[in-house]
Protein backbone atom coordinates (compact mmCIF):
# COMPACT_ATOMS: atom_id res chain seq x y z
CA UNK A 1 0.00 0.00 0.00
CA UNK A 2 2.77 2.37 0.94
CA UNK A 3 5.03 1.88 -2.09
CA UNK A 4 4.04 4.34 -4.75
CA UNK A 5 5.24 4.66 -8.29
CA UNK A 6 6.91 8.06 -8.76
CA UNK A 7 4.14 9.34 -11.05
CA UNK A 8 1.53 8.71 -8.42
CA UNK A 9 3.57 10.51 -5.82
CA UNK A 10 3.77 13.55 -8.05
CA UNK A 11 -0.01 13.49 -8.42
CA UNK A 12 -0.56 13.30 -4.69
CA UNK A 13 1.78 16.18 -4.14
CA UNK A 14 -0.02 18.42 -6.53
CA UNK A 15 -3.14 17.44 -4.63
CA UNK A 16 -1.67 18.93 -1.46
CA UNK A 17 -1.12 22.36 -2.90
CA UNK A 18 -4.11 22.36 -5.24
CA UNK A 19 -6.22 24.52 -2.89
CA UNK A 20 -3.76 27.32 -3.51
CA UNK A 21 -5.21 27.56 -6.97
CA UNK A 22 -2.32 27.68 -9.41
CA UNK A 23 -1.28 24.03 -9.46
CA UNK A 24 -4.70 22.70 -10.38
CA UNK A 25 -4.77 23.59 -14.09
CA UNK A 26 -1.38 21.91 -14.61
CA UNK A 27 -2.67 18.73 -13.06
CA UNK A 28 -5.78 18.62 -15.20
CA UNK A 29 -3.85 19.39 -18.38
CA UNK A 30 -1.72 16.29 -18.14
CA UNK A 31 -4.19 13.46 -18.87
CA UNK A 32 -5.41 15.19 -22.04
CA UNK A 33 -3.00 13.58 -24.57
CA UNK A 34 -3.87 10.07 -23.36
CA UNK A 35 -7.57 10.80 -23.76
CA UNK A 36 -7.12 12.02 -27.36
CA UNK A 37 -5.44 8.73 -28.27
CA UNK A 38 -8.44 6.81 -26.99
CA UNK A 39 -10.76 9.14 -28.87
CA UNK A 40 -9.93 7.51 -32.21
CA UNK A 41 -11.47 4.24 -31.11
CA UNK A 42 -14.71 5.79 -29.83
CA UNK A 43 -17.91 5.84 -31.83
CA UNK A 44 -19.24 9.26 -32.91
CA UNK A 45 -22.12 9.46 -30.40
CA UNK A 46 -19.91 8.60 -27.50
CA UNK A 47 -17.30 11.12 -28.56
CA UNK A 48 -19.98 13.81 -28.74
CA UNK A 49 -21.10 12.96 -25.25
CA UNK A 50 -17.56 13.14 -23.96
CA UNK A 51 -17.14 16.55 -25.59
CA UNK A 52 -20.39 17.70 -23.98
CA UNK A 53 -19.23 16.57 -20.55
CA UNK A 54 -15.87 18.24 -21.10
CA UNK A 55 -17.57 21.50 -22.05
CA UNK A 56 -19.88 21.25 -19.03
CA UNK A 57 -16.92 20.82 -16.70
CA UNK A 58 -15.07 23.66 -18.41
CA UNK A 59 -18.13 25.90 -17.91
CA UNK A 60 -18.23 25.01 -14.22
CA UNK A 61 -14.54 25.68 -13.82
CA UNK A 62 -14.75 29.03 -15.55
CA UNK A 63 -17.84 29.95 -13.54
CA UNK A 64 -15.77 29.67 -10.36
CA UNK A 65 -13.08 31.91 -11.84
CA UNK A 66 -15.73 34.34 -13.08
CA UNK A 67 -17.35 34.53 -9.63
CA UNK A 68 -13.99 35.25 -7.98
CA UNK A 69 -13.39 37.93 -10.60
CA UNK A 70 -16.79 39.51 -9.95
CA UNK A 71 -16.26 39.50 -6.18
CA UNK A 72 -12.90 41.15 -6.76
CA UNK A 73 -14.42 43.86 -8.98
CA UNK A 74 -17.38 44.52 -6.64
CA UNK A 75 -15.24 44.66 -3.51
CA UNK A 76 -12.75 47.10 -5.03
CA UNK A 77 -15.39 49.23 -6.75
CA UNK A 78 -17.24 49.76 -3.45
CA UNK A 79 -14.05 49.99 -1.42
CA UNK A 80 -12.20 52.50 -3.59
CA UNK A 81 -15.31 54.71 -3.62
CA UNK A 82 -14.34 55.46 0.00
CA UNK A 83 -11.72 57.87 -1.35
CA UNK A 84 -14.48 60.21 -2.56
CA UNK A 85 -15.27 61.19 1.05
CA UNK A 86 -12.23 60.07 3.01
CA UNK A 87 -8.66 61.33 2.70
CA UNK A 88 -6.12 58.47 2.30
CA UNK A 89 -4.31 59.69 5.45
CA UNK A 90 -7.51 59.03 7.46
CA UNK A 91 -7.06 55.29 6.97
CA UNK A 92 -3.87 55.68 9.01
CA UNK A 93 -4.93 58.17 11.68
CA UNK A 94 -6.66 61.44 12.49
CA UNK A 95 -7.01 64.27 14.98
CA UNK A 96 -8.81 63.37 18.16
CA UNK A 97 -9.97 65.33 21.20
CA UNK A 98 -8.61 63.74 24.33
CA UNK A 99 -10.34 64.88 27.51
CA UNK A 100 -8.64 65.27 30.87
CA UNK A 101 -10.81 65.17 33.98
CA UNK A 102 -10.22 67.35 37.02
CA UNK A 103 -11.60 65.48 40.05
CA UNK A 104 -11.44 68.57 42.31
CA UNK A 105 -13.68 70.69 40.11
CA UNK A 106 -15.56 67.85 38.36
CA UNK A 107 -14.75 69.45 34.98
CA UNK A 108 -13.00 68.59 31.72
CA UNK A 109 -10.23 70.15 29.65
CA UNK A 110 -9.53 68.95 26.13
CA UNK A 111 -6.35 68.49 24.14
CA UNK A 112 -6.20 67.71 20.44
CA UNK A 113 -3.76 65.12 19.22
CA UNK A 114 -3.06 62.74 16.35
CA UNK A 115 -4.45 59.32 17.20
CA UNK A 116 -4.63 55.97 15.44
CA UNK A 117 -8.22 54.95 16.19
CA UNK A 118 -11.15 53.26 14.47
CA UNK A 119 -14.19 55.27 15.57
CA UNK A 120 -16.62 55.44 12.64
CA UNK A 121 -19.65 56.62 14.65
CA UNK A 122 -18.48 60.06 15.71
CA UNK A 123 -18.84 63.76 14.92
CA UNK A 124 -15.53 63.44 13.12
CA UNK A 125 -15.38 59.78 12.09
CA UNK A 126 -11.98 58.11 12.36
CA UNK A 127 -11.10 55.23 10.09
CA UNK A 128 -7.58 54.12 11.03
CA UNK A 129 -7.05 50.59 9.72
CA UNK A 130 -4.00 50.04 11.93
CA UNK A 131 -5.82 48.86 15.09
CA UNK A 132 -7.91 46.46 12.98
CA UNK A 133 -4.83 45.12 11.19
CA UNK A 134 -3.13 44.83 14.58
CA UNK A 135 -6.13 42.92 15.93
CA UNK A 136 -6.33 40.52 13.01
CA UNK A 137 -2.62 39.69 13.22
CA UNK A 138 -2.64 39.37 17.01
CA UNK A 139 -5.29 36.67 16.69
CA UNK A 140 -4.19 34.97 13.47
CA UNK A 141 -0.45 34.64 14.22
CA UNK A 142 -0.77 32.86 17.61
CA UNK A 143 -3.64 30.76 16.24
CA UNK A 144 -1.46 29.68 13.30
CA UNK A 145 1.46 28.95 15.61
CA UNK A 146 -0.67 26.81 17.95
CA UNK A 147 -2.37 24.93 15.17
CA UNK A 148 0.79 24.38 13.11
CA UNK A 149 2.57 22.82 16.08
CA UNK A 150 -0.38 20.65 17.08
CA UNK A 151 -1.38 19.96 13.47
CA UNK A 152 2.19 18.89 12.63
CA UNK A 153 2.31 16.47 15.57
CA UNK A 154 -1.11 15.05 14.73
CA UNK A 155 -0.13 14.77 11.06
CA UNK A 156 3.12 12.94 11.90
CA UNK A 157 1.25 10.57 14.18
CA UNK A 158 -1.41 9.82 11.59
CA UNK A 159 0.96 9.42 8.64
CA UNK A 160 3.94 7.69 10.25
CA UNK A 161 3.05 6.08 13.55
CA UNK A 162 -0.64 5.25 13.88
CA UNK A 163 -1.86 1.78 12.99
CA UNK A 164 -4.45 1.61 10.22
CA UNK A 165 -7.31 0.87 12.67
CA UNK A 166 -6.44 3.83 14.88
CA UNK A 167 -6.08 6.12 11.89
CA UNK A 168 -9.46 5.11 10.51
CA UNK A 169 -11.03 6.23 13.78
CA UNK A 170 -8.85 9.25 14.55
CA UNK A 171 -8.94 10.92 11.16
CA UNK A 172 -12.73 11.38 10.90
CA UNK A 173 -12.80 12.46 14.56
CA UNK A 174 -10.31 15.26 13.86
CA UNK A 175 -12.14 16.28 10.72
CA UNK A 176 -15.34 16.43 12.75
CA UNK A 177 -13.71 19.23 14.75
CA UNK A 178 -13.67 21.33 11.58
CA UNK A 179 -17.41 20.73 11.23
CA UNK A 180 -18.40 22.29 14.56
CA UNK A 181 -20.27 25.54 13.81
CA UNK A 182 -17.95 28.42 14.72
CA UNK A 183 -20.72 30.11 16.70
CA UNK A 184 -20.69 27.16 19.10
CA UNK A 185 -16.92 27.41 19.54
CA UNK A 186 -17.29 31.17 20.06
CA UNK A 187 -19.94 30.60 22.69
CA UNK A 188 -17.77 28.13 24.63
CA UNK A 189 -14.84 30.57 24.45
CA UNK A 190 -17.03 33.45 25.64
CA UNK A 191 -18.55 31.66 28.61
CA UNK A 192 -16.07 29.03 29.82
CA UNK A 193 -12.58 29.42 28.35
CA UNK A 194 -12.42 33.21 28.86
CA UNK A 195 -13.01 32.84 32.61
CA UNK A 196 -10.47 30.02 32.79
CA UNK A 197 -7.80 32.05 30.98
CA UNK A 198 -8.46 35.07 33.20
CA UNK A 199 -8.21 33.04 36.40
CA UNK A 200 -4.81 31.72 35.27
CA UNK A 201 -3.31 34.89 33.78
CA UNK A 202 -5.15 37.53 35.89
CA UNK A 203 -5.46 39.60 32.72
CA UNK A 204 -7.14 43.01 32.67
CA UNK A 205 -9.40 41.94 29.81
CA UNK A 206 -11.50 38.81 30.25
CA UNK A 207 -12.13 38.63 26.51
CA UNK A 208 -8.86 38.99 24.65
CA UNK A 209 -6.81 38.08 21.58
CA UNK A 210 -5.47 34.92 23.21
CA UNK A 211 -8.96 33.55 23.93
CA UNK A 212 -9.87 34.31 20.30
CA UNK A 213 -6.68 32.63 19.05
CA UNK A 214 -7.45 29.48 21.06
CA UNK A 215 -10.91 29.30 19.48
CA UNK A 216 -9.64 29.95 15.97
CA UNK A 217 -6.89 27.34 16.31
CA UNK A 218 -9.58 24.73 17.07
CA UNK A 219 -10.99 25.40 13.61
CA UNK A 220 -7.69 25.30 11.74
CA UNK A 221 -5.98 22.38 13.51
CA UNK A 222 -7.95 19.88 11.38
CA UNK A 223 -7.02 21.78 8.20
CA UNK A 224 -3.30 21.83 9.06
CA UNK A 225 -3.26 18.24 10.38
CA UNK A 226 -4.95 16.81 7.33
CA UNK A 227 -2.76 18.72 4.84
CA UNK A 228 0.38 17.79 6.82
CA UNK A 229 -0.60 14.15 6.77
CA UNK A 230 -1.09 14.28 2.99
CA UNK A 231 2.30 15.96 2.57
CA UNK A 232 4.07 13.33 4.70
CA UNK A 233 2.39 10.46 2.91
CA UNK A 234 3.55 11.87 -0.40
CA UNK A 235 7.20 11.44 0.61
CA UNK A 236 8.51 8.49 -1.47
CA UNK A 237 8.88 5.23 0.45
CA UNK A 238 12.47 4.58 -0.84
CA UNK A 239 13.61 7.63 1.19
CA UNK A 240 12.39 5.98 4.40
CA UNK A 241 13.82 2.61 3.46
CA UNK A 242 17.20 4.17 2.70
CA UNK A 243 17.18 5.89 6.07
CA UNK A 244 16.37 2.65 7.92
CA UNK A 245 19.04 0.93 5.81
CA UNK A 246 21.64 3.39 7.13
CA UNK A 247 20.71 2.38 10.66
CA UNK A 248 18.49 5.34 11.58
CA UNK A 249 15.78 4.80 14.19
CA UNK A 250 12.12 5.48 13.42
CA UNK A 251 12.20 8.88 15.16
CA UNK A 252 15.41 9.89 13.37
CA UNK A 253 13.84 8.90 10.07
CA UNK A 254 10.69 10.92 10.73
CA UNK A 255 12.40 14.01 12.11
CA UNK A 256 15.43 14.21 9.80
CA UNK A 257 14.26 12.63 6.57
CA UNK A 258 10.51 12.57 6.14
CA UNK A 259 9.56 15.93 7.67
CA UNK A 260 12.33 17.87 5.86
CA UNK A 261 11.32 16.20 2.59
CA UNK A 262 7.69 17.28 3.11
CA UNK A 263 8.51 20.77 4.30
CA UNK A 264 6.96 22.46 1.27
CA UNK A 265 3.61 20.79 1.90
CA UNK A 266 3.80 21.58 5.62
CA UNK A 267 4.59 25.23 4.86
CA UNK A 268 1.63 25.34 2.51
CA UNK A 269 -0.55 23.88 5.28
CA UNK A 270 0.61 26.56 7.72
CA UNK A 271 0.03 29.41 5.29
CA UNK A 272 -3.41 28.12 4.34
CA UNK A 273 -4.20 27.90 8.04
CA UNK A 274 -3.07 31.50 8.46
CA UNK A 275 -5.36 32.63 5.65
CA UNK A 276 -8.24 30.82 7.27
CA UNK A 277 -7.40 32.39 10.66
CA UNK A 278 -7.41 35.90 9.17
CA UNK A 279 -10.82 35.26 7.64
CA UNK A 280 -12.45 33.71 10.72
CA UNK A 281 -15.28 35.95 11.92
CA UNK A 282 -17.76 34.53 14.38
CA UNK A 283 -15.29 33.25 16.98
CA UNK A 284 -13.30 36.50 17.11
CA UNK A 285 -16.49 38.57 17.19
CA UNK A 286 -17.61 36.72 20.30
CA UNK A 287 -14.33 36.08 22.12
CA UNK A 288 -12.01 39.06 21.66
CA UNK A 289 -14.01 41.90 23.27
CA UNK A 290 -13.81 44.01 20.08
CA UNK A 291 -11.94 47.02 21.49
CA UNK A 292 -9.95 48.58 18.64
CA UNK A 293 -6.57 48.92 20.32
CA UNK A 294 -3.02 49.07 19.01
CA UNK A 295 -1.10 46.69 21.19
CA UNK A 296 1.40 43.87 21.19
CA UNK A 297 -0.10 42.35 24.33
CA UNK A 298 -1.82 39.08 23.50
CA UNK A 299 -3.94 39.37 26.66
CA UNK A 300 -5.43 42.65 25.44
CA UNK A 301 -8.85 42.99 23.85
CA UNK A 302 -8.60 43.50 20.08
CA UNK A 303 -10.92 44.19 17.16
CA UNK A 304 -10.26 42.27 13.95
CA UNK A 305 -11.10 43.39 10.42
CA UNK A 306 -13.63 40.60 9.99
CA UNK A 307 -15.43 41.33 13.27
CA UNK A 308 -15.61 45.01 12.37
CA UNK A 309 -17.27 44.28 9.04
CA UNK A 310 -19.65 41.78 10.61
CA UNK A 311 -20.65 44.06 13.48
CA UNK A 312 -21.03 47.30 11.55
CA UNK A 313 -22.05 46.57 7.97
CA UNK A 314 -25.58 45.53 8.94
CA UNK A 315 -26.36 48.95 10.38
CA UNK A 316 -24.89 51.37 7.87
CA UNK A 317 -26.91 53.04 5.15
CA UNK A 318 -25.95 51.79 1.69
CA UNK A 319 -23.56 54.16 -0.02
CA UNK A 320 -22.65 56.11 3.12
CA UNK A 321 -19.11 57.03 4.09
CA UNK A 322 -18.87 54.24 6.66
CA UNK A 323 -20.30 51.72 4.17
CA UNK A 324 -17.47 52.42 1.73
CA UNK A 325 -14.91 52.46 4.54
CA UNK A 326 -16.04 48.96 5.57
CA UNK A 327 -15.73 47.77 1.99
CA UNK A 328 -12.24 49.23 1.94
CA UNK A 329 -11.46 47.15 5.04
CA UNK A 330 -12.82 44.12 3.17
CA UNK A 331 -10.73 44.88 0.09
CA UNK A 332 -7.63 45.24 2.28
CA UNK A 333 -8.32 41.90 3.96
CA UNK A 334 -8.85 40.26 0.57
CA UNK A 335 -5.59 41.71 -0.77
CA UNK A 336 -3.64 40.48 2.25
CA UNK A 337 -4.94 36.91 2.07
CA UNK A 338 -4.42 36.93 -1.70
CA UNK A 339 -0.79 38.04 -1.29
CA UNK A 340 -0.19 35.34 1.31
CA UNK A 341 -1.59 32.61 -0.90
CA UNK A 342 0.53 33.87 -3.79
CA UNK A 343 3.66 33.92 -1.61
CA UNK A 344 2.88 30.40 -0.41
CA UNK A 345 2.58 29.29 -4.02
CA UNK A 346 5.98 30.74 -4.91
CA UNK A 347 7.68 29.24 -1.83
CA UNK A 348 6.19 25.83 -2.46
CA UNK A 349 7.18 25.84 -6.14
CA UNK A 350 10.74 26.87 -5.30
CA UNK A 351 11.12 24.23 -2.57
CA UNK A 352 9.73 21.52 -4.78
CA UNK A 353 12.26 22.37 -7.45
CA UNK A 354 15.09 22.17 -4.91
CA UNK A 355 13.89 18.80 -3.59
CA UNK A 356 13.83 17.33 -7.06
CA UNK A 357 17.55 18.00 -7.66
Amino acid sequence: MKIDVPGKVEGARIGVVAPLGMAAPRASARPAPAASGADLRLRGGRRLRERAIELFLLANGSAAVLIIGLIFVFLFKEGLAAFRDIQPIQFIGGQENTPTYDPELDTFTETRQFALVWQPVSDSPKYSLLPLLNGSLLVALPATLISTVIGLLVGIYLAELARARVRELAKPAIELLAGIPTVIIGFIMLTVVASLVQSITHSHFRLNAFVGALGVSLVIIPVVASLTEDALRAVPEPLRLASYGLGATRWQTVSRVVVPAAVSGITAAGILGFGRALGETMIVLMATGNAALITGNILSSVRTMTATIAAELGAVARGSEQYHALFFVGATLFTITFMFNLTAEVIVARMRRRLRM
Binding site: L293, S300, A315
Partner: protein, 293 residues
Protein backbone atom coordinates in the same frame (compact mmCIF):
# COMPACT_ATOMS: atom_id res chain seq x y z
CA UNK B 1 -61.89 17.80 -18.19
CA UNK B 2 -58.46 17.74 -16.67
CA UNK B 3 -57.50 21.14 -18.05
CA UNK B 4 -60.69 22.59 -16.62
CA UNK B 5 -59.94 21.39 -13.08
CA UNK B 6 -56.42 22.73 -13.53
CA UNK B 7 -57.85 26.13 -14.38
CA UNK B 8 -60.04 26.02 -11.28
CA UNK B 9 -57.01 25.16 -9.19
CA UNK B 10 -55.03 28.05 -10.62
CA UNK B 11 -57.96 30.37 -9.94
CA UNK B 12 -58.21 29.14 -6.35
CA UNK B 13 -54.49 29.69 -6.04
CA UNK B 14 -54.89 33.31 -7.06
CA UNK B 15 -57.72 33.73 -4.57
CA UNK B 16 -55.55 32.31 -1.81
CA UNK B 17 -52.78 34.73 -2.72
CA UNK B 18 -55.20 37.64 -2.65
CA UNK B 19 -56.42 36.54 0.76
CA UNK B 20 -52.88 36.35 2.12
CA UNK B 21 -52.11 39.83 0.89
CA UNK B 22 -55.19 41.07 2.72
CA UNK B 23 -54.20 39.64 6.11
CA UNK B 24 -50.92 41.50 5.88
CA UNK B 25 -47.76 40.16 7.36
CA UNK B 26 -46.26 42.98 9.47
CA UNK B 27 -42.50 42.93 9.97
CA UNK B 28 -40.89 44.76 12.90
CA UNK B 29 -37.11 45.19 12.96
CA UNK B 30 -34.60 47.23 14.93
CA UNK B 31 -33.55 48.04 18.46
CA UNK B 32 -32.12 45.18 20.48
CA UNK B 33 -33.19 47.06 23.60
CA UNK B 34 -36.80 46.83 22.45
CA UNK B 35 -36.80 43.34 20.98
CA UNK B 36 -38.26 41.70 24.12
CA UNK B 37 -40.92 44.38 24.33
CA UNK B 38 -41.83 44.27 20.64
CA UNK B 39 -42.07 40.48 20.72
CA UNK B 40 -44.42 40.54 23.68
CA UNK B 41 -46.53 43.25 22.05
CA UNK B 42 -46.72 41.14 18.87
CA UNK B 43 -47.72 37.98 20.77
CA UNK B 44 -50.48 39.65 22.77
CA UNK B 45 -51.77 41.55 19.75
CA UNK B 46 -51.92 38.38 17.65
CA UNK B 47 -53.84 36.62 20.44
CA UNK B 48 -56.48 39.34 20.21
CA UNK B 49 -56.45 39.70 16.42
CA UNK B 50 -56.30 36.31 14.76
CA UNK B 51 -55.98 37.86 11.27
CA UNK B 52 -52.73 39.67 12.11
CA UNK B 53 -49.33 38.13 11.59
CA UNK B 54 -46.35 39.99 13.04
CA UNK B 55 -42.68 39.07 12.86
CA UNK B 56 -40.18 40.73 15.19
CA UNK B 57 -36.39 40.76 14.80
CA UNK B 58 -33.59 42.76 16.44
CA UNK B 59 -30.26 43.81 15.02
CA UNK B 60 -29.95 47.33 16.42
CA UNK B 61 -31.77 50.62 15.93
CA UNK B 62 -29.51 51.59 13.03
CA UNK B 63 -30.18 48.26 11.36
CA UNK B 64 -33.94 48.74 11.77
CA UNK B 65 -33.98 52.23 10.30
CA UNK B 66 -31.72 51.12 7.45
CA UNK B 67 -34.21 48.29 6.76
CA UNK B 68 -37.16 50.73 6.81
CA UNK B 69 -35.40 52.93 4.26
CA UNK B 70 -34.55 49.90 2.11
CA UNK B 71 -38.20 48.86 2.26
CA UNK B 72 -37.53 45.51 3.94
CA UNK B 73 -39.51 46.20 7.12
CA UNK B 74 -42.87 47.83 7.92
CA UNK B 75 -41.97 49.12 11.37
CA UNK B 76 -38.49 50.08 12.59
CA UNK B 77 -38.10 50.09 16.36
CA UNK B 78 -35.48 52.51 17.60
CA UNK B 79 -34.12 53.48 20.99
CA UNK B 80 -32.88 56.83 19.60
CA UNK B 81 -34.47 59.47 17.39
CA UNK B 82 -33.76 59.15 13.69
CA UNK B 83 -30.49 60.88 12.69
CA UNK B 84 -30.24 63.79 10.28
CA UNK B 85 -28.17 61.66 7.89
CA UNK B 86 -30.87 58.97 7.89
CA UNK B 87 -33.57 61.60 7.25
CA UNK B 88 -31.52 62.80 4.30
CA UNK B 89 -31.25 59.27 2.87
CA UNK B 90 -35.02 58.89 3.36
CA UNK B 91 -35.79 62.14 1.51
CA UNK B 92 -33.47 61.15 -1.32
CA UNK B 93 -35.36 57.86 -1.61
CA UNK B 94 -38.71 59.69 -1.55
CA UNK B 95 -39.65 58.20 1.83
CA UNK B 96 -41.48 60.18 4.49
CA UNK B 97 -40.62 58.69 7.89
CA UNK B 98 -43.19 58.96 10.67
CA UNK B 99 -42.24 58.80 14.35
CA UNK B 100 -44.41 57.26 17.09
CA UNK B 101 -43.21 57.42 20.68
CA UNK B 102 -44.14 54.08 22.25
CA UNK B 103 -42.49 53.91 25.70
CA UNK B 104 -39.55 55.16 27.74
CA UNK B 105 -36.46 53.45 29.01
CA UNK B 106 -34.03 54.37 31.76
CA UNK B 107 -30.38 53.50 31.21
CA UNK B 108 -28.48 52.38 34.22
CA UNK B 109 -24.76 52.32 34.88
CA UNK B 110 -23.72 49.08 36.52
CA UNK B 111 -20.70 47.60 38.28
CA UNK B 112 -19.90 44.24 39.86
CA UNK B 113 -21.68 43.70 43.18
CA UNK B 114 -18.34 43.57 45.09
CA UNK B 115 -17.31 47.03 43.88
CA UNK B 116 -17.51 49.49 46.83
CA UNK B 117 -18.48 52.41 44.57
CA UNK B 118 -22.21 53.18 44.92
CA UNK B 119 -22.72 56.47 43.11
CA UNK B 120 -21.15 58.52 40.34
CA UNK B 121 -21.69 62.00 38.96
CA UNK B 122 -22.61 62.35 35.29
CA UNK B 123 -19.16 63.84 34.68
CA UNK B 124 -17.46 60.93 36.39
CA UNK B 125 -19.32 58.51 34.12
CA UNK B 126 -18.24 60.61 31.15
CA UNK B 127 -14.64 60.65 32.41
CA UNK B 128 -14.63 56.87 32.76
CA UNK B 129 -16.02 56.22 29.28
CA UNK B 130 -13.89 58.80 27.48
CA UNK B 131 -10.76 57.40 29.09
CA UNK B 132 -9.97 60.35 31.40
CA UNK B 133 -10.30 58.18 34.54
CA UNK B 134 -8.67 54.77 34.39
CA UNK B 135 -8.58 53.43 37.92
CA UNK B 136 -11.27 52.74 40.50
CA UNK B 137 -8.92 54.36 43.01
CA UNK B 138 -9.84 57.81 41.62
CA UNK B 139 -13.49 57.08 42.43
CA UNK B 140 -13.04 55.82 45.97
CA UNK B 141 -12.65 52.17 45.01
CA UNK B 142 -9.74 49.71 45.07
CA UNK B 143 -6.56 50.44 43.01
CA UNK B 144 -7.78 48.42 40.04
CA UNK B 145 -7.80 49.38 36.36
CA UNK B 146 -11.34 49.98 35.08
CA UNK B 147 -12.62 47.50 32.48
CA UNK B 148 -15.08 49.38 30.27
CA UNK B 149 -17.92 47.60 28.51
CA UNK B 150 -19.94 49.30 25.83
CA UNK B 151 -22.20 48.25 22.96
CA UNK B 152 -21.58 47.86 19.23
CA UNK B 153 -21.91 51.10 17.28
CA UNK B 154 -25.11 49.92 15.53
CA UNK B 155 -26.98 50.01 18.84
CA UNK B 156 -29.25 52.86 19.84
CA UNK B 157 -27.98 52.51 23.41
CA UNK B 158 -24.44 53.24 22.17
CA UNK B 159 -25.55 56.38 20.35
CA UNK B 160 -27.83 57.64 23.13
CA UNK B 161 -25.16 57.18 25.79
CA UNK B 162 -22.59 58.91 23.58
CA UNK B 163 -24.86 61.91 23.01
CA UNK B 164 -26.38 62.29 26.47
CA UNK B 165 -23.63 61.15 28.78
CA UNK B 166 -20.38 61.60 26.84
CA UNK B 167 -21.44 64.97 25.41
CA UNK B 168 -20.81 63.50 21.94
CA UNK B 169 -17.18 62.73 22.74
CA UNK B 170 -15.76 59.47 21.43
CA UNK B 171 -15.61 56.40 23.62
CA UNK B 172 -12.16 55.42 24.92
CA UNK B 173 -10.59 53.03 22.39
CA UNK B 174 -10.31 50.23 24.95
CA UNK B 175 -14.09 50.05 25.48
CA UNK B 176 -15.13 46.51 24.70
CA UNK B 177 -18.10 46.45 22.35
CA UNK B 178 -20.59 43.79 23.34
CA UNK B 179 -23.28 42.49 20.98
CA UNK B 180 -26.21 43.14 23.35
CA UNK B 181 -27.19 44.49 26.77
CA UNK B 182 -27.58 40.92 28.02
CA UNK B 183 -23.93 40.29 27.06
CA UNK B 184 -22.92 43.45 28.97
CA UNK B 185 -24.82 42.18 32.03
CA UNK B 186 -23.05 38.79 31.85
CA UNK B 187 -19.64 40.39 31.38
CA UNK B 188 -20.05 42.79 34.31
CA UNK B 189 -21.36 39.97 36.53
CA UNK B 190 -18.13 38.04 35.88
CA UNK B 191 -15.63 40.88 36.28
CA UNK B 192 -15.06 42.73 39.59
CA UNK B 193 -13.32 45.68 37.85
CA UNK B 194 -15.97 46.13 35.16
CA UNK B 195 -18.38 48.93 34.39
CA UNK B 196 -21.24 48.70 31.93
CA UNK B 197 -24.47 50.41 30.92
CA UNK B 198 -27.81 49.50 29.37
CA UNK B 199 -31.57 49.41 29.86
CA UNK B 200 -32.46 48.92 33.54
CA UNK B 201 -34.77 46.03 32.66
CA UNK B 202 -31.80 43.82 31.80
CA UNK B 203 -30.00 44.37 35.12
CA UNK B 204 -32.86 44.12 37.63
CA UNK B 205 -32.76 40.33 37.59
CA UNK B 206 -28.95 39.98 37.57
CA UNK B 207 -27.80 38.99 41.07
CA UNK B 208 -24.09 39.85 40.67
CA UNK B 209 -24.60 43.30 39.18
CA UNK B 210 -25.05 46.56 41.11
CA UNK B 211 -27.04 49.44 39.63
CA UNK B 212 -25.34 52.73 40.52
CA UNK B 213 -26.98 55.92 41.78
CA UNK B 214 -26.38 58.87 39.50
CA UNK B 215 -25.84 62.53 40.46
CA UNK B 216 -26.57 65.18 37.86
CA UNK B 217 -24.02 67.57 39.36
CA UNK B 218 -21.56 67.14 42.19
CA UNK B 219 -23.98 68.66 44.69
CA UNK B 220 -27.19 67.06 43.38
CA UNK B 221 -28.80 64.17 45.22
CA UNK B 222 -27.81 60.66 44.08
CA UNK B 223 -30.81 59.11 42.31
CA UNK B 224 -31.42 55.47 41.47
CA UNK B 225 -33.96 54.42 38.83
CA UNK B 226 -34.88 51.40 40.96
CA UNK B 227 -37.86 51.60 43.32
CA UNK B 228 -37.52 50.97 47.07
CA UNK B 229 -38.53 47.29 46.72
CA UNK B 230 -35.47 46.68 44.48
CA UNK B 231 -37.53 44.84 41.90
CA UNK B 232 -39.39 47.51 39.98
CA UNK B 233 -38.69 50.96 38.57
CA UNK B 234 -39.31 54.36 40.04
CA UNK B 235 -41.24 56.10 37.21
CA UNK B 236 -41.49 59.43 38.99
CA UNK B 237 -37.75 60.20 38.94
CA UNK B 238 -37.70 59.42 35.22
CA UNK B 239 -40.76 61.52 34.30
CA UNK B 240 -39.49 64.43 36.39
CA UNK B 241 -36.00 64.22 34.88
CA UNK B 242 -34.36 63.83 38.30
CA UNK B 243 -32.80 60.63 37.02
CA UNK B 244 -30.81 62.01 34.09
CA UNK B 245 -30.19 59.01 31.83
CA UNK B 246 -33.60 58.19 30.36
CA UNK B 247 -34.76 58.13 26.78
CA UNK B 248 -37.77 57.73 24.56
CA UNK B 249 -38.36 54.57 22.54
CA UNK B 250 -39.79 54.95 19.05
CA UNK B 251 -41.45 53.09 16.24
CA UNK B 252 -40.78 54.48 12.76
CA UNK B 253 -43.02 53.86 9.77
CA UNK B 254 -43.10 55.20 6.23
CA UNK B 255 -45.87 57.77 6.20
CA UNK B 256 -48.61 58.06 8.82
CA UNK B 257 -49.38 54.50 9.98
CA UNK B 258 -52.62 53.18 8.47
CA UNK B 259 -54.41 49.85 8.12
CA UNK B 260 -53.00 46.91 10.08
CA UNK B 261 -49.80 48.76 11.02
CA UNK B 262 -51.80 51.75 12.28
CA UNK B 263 -54.11 49.53 14.33
CA UNK B 264 -51.11 47.75 15.89
CA UNK B 265 -49.37 51.02 16.81
CA UNK B 266 -52.47 52.58 18.36
CA UNK B 267 -52.95 49.41 20.42
CA UNK B 268 -49.30 49.70 21.60
CA UNK B 269 -49.70 53.27 22.86
CA UNK B 270 -53.08 52.36 24.38
CA UNK B 271 -53.56 50.99 27.92
CA UNK B 272 -52.96 47.32 27.01
CA UNK B 273 -49.67 47.93 25.20
CA UNK B 274 -48.43 50.26 27.93
CA UNK B 275 -49.28 47.72 30.66
CA UNK B 276 -47.02 45.22 28.89
CA UNK B 277 -44.19 47.78 28.76
CA UNK B 278 -44.55 48.30 32.51
CA UNK B 279 -44.60 44.55 33.16
CA UNK B 280 -41.33 44.02 31.26
CA UNK B 281 -39.36 46.70 33.11
CA UNK B 282 -39.71 49.55 30.63
CA UNK B 283 -41.33 52.83 31.53
CA UNK B 284 -44.83 53.40 30.16
CA UNK B 285 -45.62 56.77 28.63
CA UNK B 286 -46.64 59.28 31.28
CA UNK B 287 -50.39 59.87 31.48
CA UNK B 288 -51.37 62.78 29.30
CA UNK B 289 -48.12 62.57 27.34
CA UNK B 290 -48.84 63.03 23.65
CA UNK B 291 -48.20 59.55 22.31
CA UNK B 292 -48.35 60.27 18.60
CA UNK B 293 -46.53 63.39 17.49
Amino acid sequence: MRSKSLLVLVFLGFLACGGAADAKNITVKGSDTMVLLAQRWAEKYMEKHSDASIQVTGGGSGTGIAALLNGTTDIATSSRPIKAAEMKTAREGGINTFETKVAMDALSVVVHKDNPVNELTMNQVKAIYTGAINSWKDLGGPPKAIVRYSRESNSGTYVFFKEHVLGNQDYAPDCQNMPGTAAVATAVAKDPAAIGFGGVAYFLSQPDVKILKIKKERDSPAITPVAADGKSLNFEVVYSGEYPIARDLFCYTTGKPAGQVGAFLSWIVGPEGQAIADELGYIPLAKGQAAVK
